[in-house]
Structure formats: C-alpha cells, structure tokens
C-alpha cells in the first residue's frame, strides 16, 4: 500500500520540448570489422552537434540493438546530459522503423535527422534555417550540397519550380565542395571525376536572393514536424536499404514539396573510418581527437599466419564466395541472432 505522499506531485514543472529536436539512429552490433571505430565516431558526432549548434535543442538517440558496451556508453551520455532521450531497442527494427518511431515521438517544431556518422560544422543550423525561411515549401533541407540524386532524375517538382516563384539555373558547384563530398563517401578517383563533371540545378528566391541546390539527402535533413508527418511513417521492411531511403524522396516529390540543400557543406559524412582529413578538422575545431592506432594493428594482422592463409584461400573464387557468406553469417549470429 501507499506510504506517504509522492514528492513528484508537489508541483515541480516538467520541461517542454524545445523548438529544435535532433535525432540519430545508432547500430553497432559489435566492435569488430566494419564497426571497429563506430562508437568513437558516434561520440564525435554527438559532441560536434552539442558544440556547433547555436541554439538549445533536444537530442534523441534511438539505439537499434547495439552491443552492451555501446548501449552502456549511450546510457552514460544520457546520464551526463549529452543525450536527452535515449531509446534502446532489444532488436534491430530497421533504420526506417527507428525513424518512423522517432518522428512520431518528437514534438519539436523543427526536426533534424542525421545518420550517426555525419560531422556537423559551425553554422549548419543558421544556414538550414536561412533556407527554410526563403523556401517555405521545403520539406527536406540538407546542410550539404546534394550531389547524388536520390530521385534518379524523376522529380516532378523540378519540372515546375516556377510555380513556387523560384528562379532556376544550372551551375557547377565549387570544386572543393565536390571533393569534400567525395572524400566523405570514399569515392574512387574515377567517381570523383564523374561528380566533378556534373551540373547542379540551383534554385533561388528572387526576393531574398537566397540560393540552394535542388535535391536533399535522406541521410541528413532538417524539416518542419508538420511536413515530416506527411510522409512518415514509411515502409520499414529492411534493416537498412537504399530503396527505402529513396522512397522518402519520392514521397516528398509526390506531395509537391521541395527538397533542397545548402551551397556549401555544413555537414560531412565521416563513414566508419576516421581518416586524416576529418581528424585534422576535428582537431582544428578543438574537439577531442581520438587516438587512432589502426595502422599498427593492420600491420600485425598482415604478418599473422591466419591472415596469409585467408589471403590464399581468397584467391580461389569458390572460397571467396564462402568467406563472404561466412562474414554475413557470423554477423547475423552475433548481431541479429544474439537477440
């Protein structure tokens, strides 16, 4: 039975959602192979968000079934106030499942999504808001010029941008902008040349003179909650699939809403490896630079007899297939089946 009075009923005020809510989805099922540096990268992403966002915001993390060590670190970050709301899922419900969950749950006027491997630079919020004011029909605003066309040339909105009162032009983005993007995605020299040769569709508000690149990226976007709720929830059949990402872009287009991005990169893709460029930038920004000692580790691996044996096996096409299958099976065993 109840003894005494619950002190929480004493009239203490509950915090309200802030104007801006940012969320990311994490998934680090183990700390080997592809995921070796993932926890470190997540911490850098969260630190940069806290340091480079010019107004107070709610930071939500949806962890999609990471290993215990990662979940414990996220809990610690929640306890020290870096993460405001942390959701731990026992099983991976898919990237879209997690996005559907978070967008439904967040009550902020502006919602930002980012993959957990994007580095946010100073000014990203100001520039995103500047575009939002000049392009009120923009449902998705990415803080990095859109170079990869998720609509694959099928945008219907792009055919009648004059309806929105916008001026359009075809322009080349600055070389350093393209190179920054290519470095982030680990593009080959050949693909980098292809991207450098591309033209971009630029939209401009003739009143404010503000310009944006037409197209946004669903790996990082900023939008009004009322807009996002028009195209979320969306299909969530896979753990992670480009097709499901592209479906978001298609839905925005079908709703006759704009998707745009900044002319300069205010975010950059880190990926699963902290390369020299990003480490230099992190250091220049005054953030803690993680010690990355992979070079020595890699050399040790290559000197081992196990490595040499595997490398020999890999020369046989059949064994190459077997090894790849084992790689996925072991991932399933220790990352999916463990649950």
């Amino acid at each position: 039975m109840r003894i005494g009075q619950n002190p929480a009923k004493a009239g203490i005020k509950a915090p309200r959602p802030k104007r801006l809510g940012i969320f990311t989805v994490t998934y680090v099922p183990n700390q080997e192979g592809y995921f070796t540096e993932s926890l470190q990268i997540i911490k850098i992403v969260l630190t940069a968000l806290r340091q480079h966002t010019s107004e107070s915001f709610d930071l939500c993390v949806f962890d999609n079934g990471s290993c215990v060590e990662v979940q414990q670190e996220l809990i610690r970050l929640n306890q020290v106030g870096v993460i405001d709301t942390l959701t731990l899922s026992h099983q991976n419900i898919g990237k879209m499942g997690a996005m559907n969950w978070q967008i439904a749950a967040m009550r902020n006027e502006w919602i930002v999504f980012t993959d957990s491997d994007f580095y946010f630079r100073k000014g990203w919020l100001e520039e995103s808001l500047r575009l939002a004011e000049s392009f009120p029909a923009a449902a998705l605003i990415t803080a990095q010029p859109n170079i990869f066309d998720q609509l694959e040339g099928t945008s219907q909105v792009a055919l009648h941008l004059d309806k929105f009162g916008l001026k359009t032009s075809i322009e080349k983005l600055d070389r350093d902008v393209i190179e920054d993007y290519c470095r982030g995605i680990g593009a080959s020299a050949e693909n980098t040349q292809k991207f450098l040769a591309l033209d971009s569709l630029i939209v401009a508000n003739p009143v404010t003179q503000v310009k944006a690149v037409y197209g946004a990226c669903t790996a990082q976007f900023f939008g009004r909650r009322e807009h996002l709720q028009q195209f979320f929830p969306t299909a969530d059949e896979y753990l992670i699939a480009r097709e499901e990402d592209n479906e978001i872009s298609r839905r925005v287009d079908a709703l006759d809403l704009l998707q745009i991005s900044t002319l300069r990169p205010f975010v950059v893709h880190i990926g699963n490896h902290l390369d020299e460029h990003i480490l230099t930038e992190i250091k220049a920004d005054g953030l803690d630079t993680p010690a990355v000692l992979r070079t020595n580790e890699s050399i040790q691996h290559k000197a081992s007899s196990a490595w040499r044996f595997l490398a020999r096996l890999n020369r046989i096409p059949f064994m190459r297939k077997v090894l790849k299958r084992l790689y996925v099976n072991l991932f399933e065993l220790y990352s999916i089946e463990k649950k």
């Binding site: 003894i3 619950n6 002190p7 005020k13 969950w101 680990g186 896979y238 390369d275 072991l330 991932f331």
Partner: protein, 319 residues
C-alpha cells in the same frame, strides 16, 4: 570515409512488432524515503507482466529520469530480451510528456499502459483485450473493477442505456476484500474505506456474453493506439497530478470506459505487500549466454575470423 560494406545491408528482413505493446512508465529518482522500496515494486510489477501476460506482446518501458541503479537494472532486462524497447529520458518530462512519446511511438496496434506499481494476475491481458475488442467504440479498459468518478463515465452509461444489445444494471457487486484491497492500497484508512464501501454502488453492462464494470483509470488501461493519438498532445506543466485529462477527454469524445468485472491487477503503490513478496517471478532470468556460440572459447575465435574477413575484403582504410 566509408571503408567496406555495412554487413547490415545484407540482412533482408527486420523483426516485426507484436500487435500489443505493454508500456510501463517508471520514475524512481532515488532509493530513499517514498521511493525506498520502489525498485522492488518495479521488479515485482515487471515480473508479473512477464509471468502472467497470456498474449504475445512487446514490452516498452519509459524511464522518466530514474537513478543509476534503476537504469542499470532496466538495461540488463533489455540485454536479456525481457524488455523490447526502453526509453531513457534524462529529465522527468512529466506523465503528459511521457504519454506524448509513448502513445505516438508505441509500435503495437493496442497499447496496454500501466504505471510502474501494478501487479498483474494471470489472464489479465487476454480478458482485458476481449472487452476492448467486443464492446463497440471502446476508449479504455482497466483490468480490475473499482469505484470511480461517475462524471467521467456518462458516455458509457448513456450508450448502455440506449443500446438494445446491452444490459445496463446497478447494485453492490464488489465484495469487501476486492473493494478494500484497492482503495486501501491508495493510502485510505480502513474506517474511511468502510464508509465508502457502505455507500458504494457499482454499474455494470452485459454485452455479447461479457460483463464489464463501468469506469476506467488513467493509471492502468488498454486502448487502441489510434484512439489515444486523437487526444495528443497532453499539455501538463507538472510531472504528475494532471492525468485525469485522459479520463475526461475520453468521456467527452463519447468513448466507452470499461473495467473487467474481476480483479486482474492490483495497485502496490510504493511498497510490495507480503502477498507479492512471495512471488518468485521477479527473479533474474537466465541470460541467453548459455548458447553454445556464446561460449567465450567459441565466440572469440569466430569474432577474430569475422574481423579478419572484413579486413581481407574491406581493409583499405585500415592500412
């Protein structure tokens, strides 16, 4: 930069949520004073859900800023697979703030909501769902009968009186033990409870072979997610004390508010009574680590192999 291929992209399907989400709202800021026995209460409550829920469900726990000991316990349950979804809020968002998140985010079609101090008896879930799905236009089903506020039940009474398929009747149906066990669990003394009991009248409905008592409580109820979403957002300035909004709004919107005729849950408040202390269901479960592939001498070399294969194919950036 990206190095290699994310192995998650090779997995072709994800787990689908159960139709029912059981959601528990928890807040234990410290383990002293009013909250001294609350971790024990929480463990007993969750234990009764695990033991006595007789339909498939996902368990969602919303922790509204509890202390470290409680968070550690909850995280262990996620790891053991006993909690499917766990939400940690760094600050107490209040019950309204938590409801805003739970009601919108819960993956199930049916939400079985409870405060963290309910003990559930066997069959509570199926019998509550049966009422929810059999009666028309149901807003809330609470899993025990208790005296409520008639002014929050006018829509239900009106429907019962006007519906030719429903039989509406009143009388003294709750026995002393059922009545007193719940009322006194709220801290009401025996003398007052006796007075209330003597003046109490219960209102019931028979419909399609089922009997329901009229009334429901915001503290434990089942509802359809789509119904709950129509009442969002809840604007509550205080962490607690404004929760009757849900009862009032449900009634005003014309939804039925029902309770099971038999007691299928009990309020523990902030102490575990001897009746529940004897129950073994809160004991720690055996984790899945006993599976052969989780034995350290098997797992370690396999993970080493996994890492080597990754580096073999995708190790470019690690050179």
């Amino acid at each position: 930069m990206r190095s290699g291929q994310n192995p998650a992209k090779a997995i072709k399907e994800v787990v689908k949520p159960q139709r029912i989400t059981v959601a528990v709202l928890n807040y234990i800021p410290f383990l002293n004073g009013y909250y001294a026995d609350m971790l024990n209460v929480l463990q007993t409550s969750l234990g009764s859900i695990w033991e006595n829920s007789d339909l498939p469900y996902d368990l969602l726990v919303f922790d509204n800023g509890s202390c470290t000991e409680v968070k550690e316990y909850l995280q262990e349950q996620v790891e053991a697979g006993r909690i499917q979804y766990l939400i940690f809020s760094e600050k107490n968002l209040g019950k309204g703030g938590a409801w805003n998140i739970i009601f919108d985010a819960c993956p199930g079609e049916i939400l079985a909501y409870t405060d963290n101090d309910c003990y559930f008896y066997p069959g509570w879930l199926s019998k509550s769902v049966q009422l929810l799905e059999t009666f028309p236009n149901v807003g809330m089903v609470t899993s025990r009968p208790f005296p409520g506020h008639e002014q929050h039940n006018t829509a239900t009474s009106q429907w019962a009186k006007n519906s030719p398929d429903a039989h509406y009747y009143s009388g003294k149906f709750l026995d002393w033990e059922t009545y007193a066990s719940f009322t006194m669990s709220l801290g009401v003394d025996e003398e007052t409870t006796k007075k209330w009991f003597d003046n109490n009248e219960d209102y019931r409905i028979d419909y399609k072979g089922l009997t329901a008592q009229i009334g429901a409580s915001h503290y434990q109820f089942l509802s359809y997610k789509k119904v709950l979403q129509t009442f969002l957002p809840f604007e509550m300035e205080k962490p607690m004390g404004q929760v009757r909004q849900l009862d009032i709004r449900m009634n005003e919107a014309g939804y039925l508010r029902l309770m099971t005729a038999e007691p299928l849950m009990q309020n523990m408040s902030n102490q575990v009574s001897p009746e529940f202390q004897k129950n073994p269901v809160k004991q720690t479960v055996k984790k899945k680590h006993s599976r052969i592939w989780n034995l350290p001498f098997i797992k370690k070399p396999l993970m080493k192999f996994y890492d080597l294969v990754f580096r073999l194919y995708y190790g470019g950036a690690l050179k």
